[in-house]
């Protein structure tokens, strides 16, 4: 119990948002791509990845490499091969549909096809007689039927009742999604209360419906209307929706439809739970795996420096960060994802001491700072100024014994340097690079470079960085 409470106390609100957001993204991918080939391939890839992890964990070296390679290539193949399918899924939907819409599968049931076909026949004034059997067997009541056993389609119904079709005068029996028989002769009704304009089709429909629990649809060739005979009732149905409702009630499809919806909702529910479990699992593997330590040497970035000041010196240029996190996170991160920043907005001229805290370190989520070396650093800031300083040649070596170097003329004799106020305060001479005198035998001239120390000193843009030295030697007396 304590372990559970401790675990719950370590979960941050960001973690909840993290899992929820990614679960929703995964669920939306499922909703968008379900039923497509892309989805099936994605599922296959997920299995491949899972298989690869198992191969790694049990030490199957070649298998894990092979599966890893296949997974990597498969990702590319998906994008290339299924680009049209992916595009059609994304293009066909607006942003709202992509983010939160649900596209129910639009499956045209046989009833809808029949309803469409019936009213099309009525519009064309093609007579038709369609029987939907109930629970009772019709074999004893009907005659001369021709076995058909074809799937219901609008084109098929239209062709069955086409004028030139030999079976168009008989009835077609539809059961489920199949046309069972065509050209069926139905028993005629003997009722006398039927309207006088009812023809043979109407009487046949009434005859079967009176004798059985079947429902019969009649399309009147003369009037171009649709009638439904059920039991002893024969009624005109003018609206498609009404006919569909009557048919649904007759064949019990309503319950089937509800069952379908329930099944779809169940599928979505499973997808939701699956997404949450999967993402939670991934989240745990990333964040709560075995704690791993690593060390990075990260350069320090300085920000918010007063533009009037310059960094003259720092005690260190980089710090060693000892980081901890789950193995997966630590393995996947590199030094480029880590930044150490120091705010110099409150720094003053002269040396400033800063302590590097975790707030100064930008890390990927789930990775933590264990230790910083060194934890304290000193940054020396100064206001840059320009100053003219005399130049002196730094002679080295040994002049031949018989010679004396009596004079040297420098051009220029002084140079303008830019550096910090405090820095330049202690500098009264700029020295040249070391000039060897071992080989000097007579008066001459050389050109030398300056040796700026400290290195942060700069020569003013309008000053020469090459110094011409004309020296005079004479014989020792």
């Amino acid at each position: 119990m304590n372990t559970l409470l401790h675990f719950l106390s370590t979960i941050r609100w960001q973690d909840i948002v993290d899992i929820t957001l990614n679960s929703y993204i995964l669920f939306r991918l499922y909703v968008l791509f379900r039923g497509t080939n892309v989805f099936r391939v994605l599922v296959g890839m997920a299995f491949l990845w899972f298989f690869q992890r198992i191969a790694v964990s049990i030490g199957l070296i070649v298998t894990s490499w092979a599966v890893q390679g296949i997974t990597a290539v498969a990702a590319l193949i998906i994008i290339v091969v299924f680009r049209n399918e992916i595009r059609s899924v994304l293009q066909a939907k607006n942003l709202g549909a992509i983010l939160w819409g649900f596209s129910h599968k639009t499956v045209s049931s046989p009833i809808e096809i029949v309803v469409d076909s019936v009213y099309e026949l009525a519009r064309r004034r093609n007579g038709a007689l369609i029987v939907f059997p109930g629970k009772e067997n019709l074999e004893e009541m009907v005659q001369s039927g021709i076995r058909w056993r074809g799937l219901v389609s609008k084109e098929m119904i239209m062709s069955i009742f086409w004028h030139d079709n030999p079976v168009h005068d008989g009835a077609a029996i539809i059961q489920g999604n199949q046309v069972i028989e065509v050209g069926v002769i139905l028993p005629l009704s003997n009722r006398t209360d039927l309207p006088s304009h009812y023809g043979t089709r109407h009487r046949a429909a009434a005859g079967l419906s009176e004798a059985t629990d079947a429902l019969v649809i009649v399309v009147s060739e003369e009037r171009g209307n649709v009638l439904v005979a059920k039991g002893s009732h024969v009624s005109v149905v003018n609206r498609k929706e009404e006919l569909a409702q009557i048919l649904h009630e007759h064949v019990g499809v309503t319950a089937t439809q509800w069952g379908y919806l329930r099944k779809e909702r169940l599928g979505l529910g499973i997808a939701v739970v699956g997404s949450i479990l999967f993402i939670t699992g991934v989240w745990f593997s990333f964040t709560r795996g075995l704690e791993t330590l690593t060390t990075f040497e990260i350069p320090i970035e300085y920000m918010n420096r007063d533009p009037g000041m310059e960094i003259l010196d720092t005690s260190v240029n980089a710090v060693r960060l000892h980081l901890s996190g789950s193995g997966a996170l630590i393995k996947s991160m590199g030094p480029e994802q880590v930044r150490v920043r120091l705010d110099l907005s409150k720094a003053v001229v002269g040396p400033n001491t800063f302590t590097i805290t975790p707030e100064n370190v930008d890390l990927p989520p789930g990775v933590f700072v264990k230790r910083v070396e060194p934890p304290v650093l000193e940054v020396t800031l100064d206001i840059p100024i320009k100053r003219e300083v005399p130049i002196q040649v730094d002679w080295v070596g040994k002049l031949p014994e018989h010679l004396i170097l009596v004079k040297a003329k420098l051009d220029p004799e002084k140079i303008e340097v830019i550096g910090g106020t405090g820095q330049l305060k202690d500098i009264s001479t700029i020295y040249t690079q070391k000039v060897p005198i071992d080989h000097i035998k007579k008066t001459g001239a050389i050109t030398v470079n300056l040796a700026l120390h400290p290195a942060s000193l700069k020569i003013a843009p309008d000053s020469e960085d090459k110094i011409a030295v004309r020296y005079v030697v004479k014989e020792r007396l």
Binding site: Q392, D394, G397, L399
Partner: protein, 152 residues
């Protein structure tokens, strides 16, 4: 009234006598230096540096082997300075800097009417590198800066 004016005349004559005595004393101290440098005639009353040089040694008030580079092997280097005029007895300093860091500060006295003086340092292995000597007065005014190097 006559006794008061008599006392004032007496004090005035004593003051004039003291002034004459002081003038005679100062002129006699400047002479030996005038003999050494007969061309230097005090035109202004400002202390003026007329010569400054680094050398290997001083012989009879004259710098020997003036140079800007000195070998460690000579063991000693000197800074020779000559002032003319020297209006009054005063002090100057030879500040020896090794790589911009003050190494030694030598106080030297000057006597009117003109005076030459020098300071020296013994050379050690660690002294190799660029040096300079600043010649300054008591108030810190720099007369001259002489730059040189100590090498192998």
């Amino acid at each position: 009234m006559s006794s008061i004016s008599c006392r004032i005349c007496k004090k005035l004559s004593i003051f004039l006598f003291v002034l004459l005595c002081i003038d005679f004393f100062l002129s006699s101290q400047a002479l030996p230096q005038n003999n050494g440098n007969p061309l230097s005639t005090p035109v202004s009353k400002k202390l003026t540096l007329v010569e400054a040089a680094m050398c290997e040694g001083i012989k009879e008030y004259i710098p020997q082997n003036e140079a800007i580079v000195f070998s460690m092997t000579i063991g000693k280097v000197s800074c020779f300075t000559s002032f003319d005029p020297v209006p009054e007895k005063t002090f100057i300093y030879h500040n020896w800097f090794f790589r911009d860091k003050l190494s030694t500060r030598i106080k030297l006295s000057l006597q009117p009417p003109c005076w030459s003086t020098f300071s020296s340092i013994q050379l050690r292995e660690a002294d190799k590198g660029p040096w300079r000597v600043e010649v300054i007065d008591q108030k810190g005014n720099v007369f001259d800066t002489i730059r040189f190097s100590i090498t192998d």
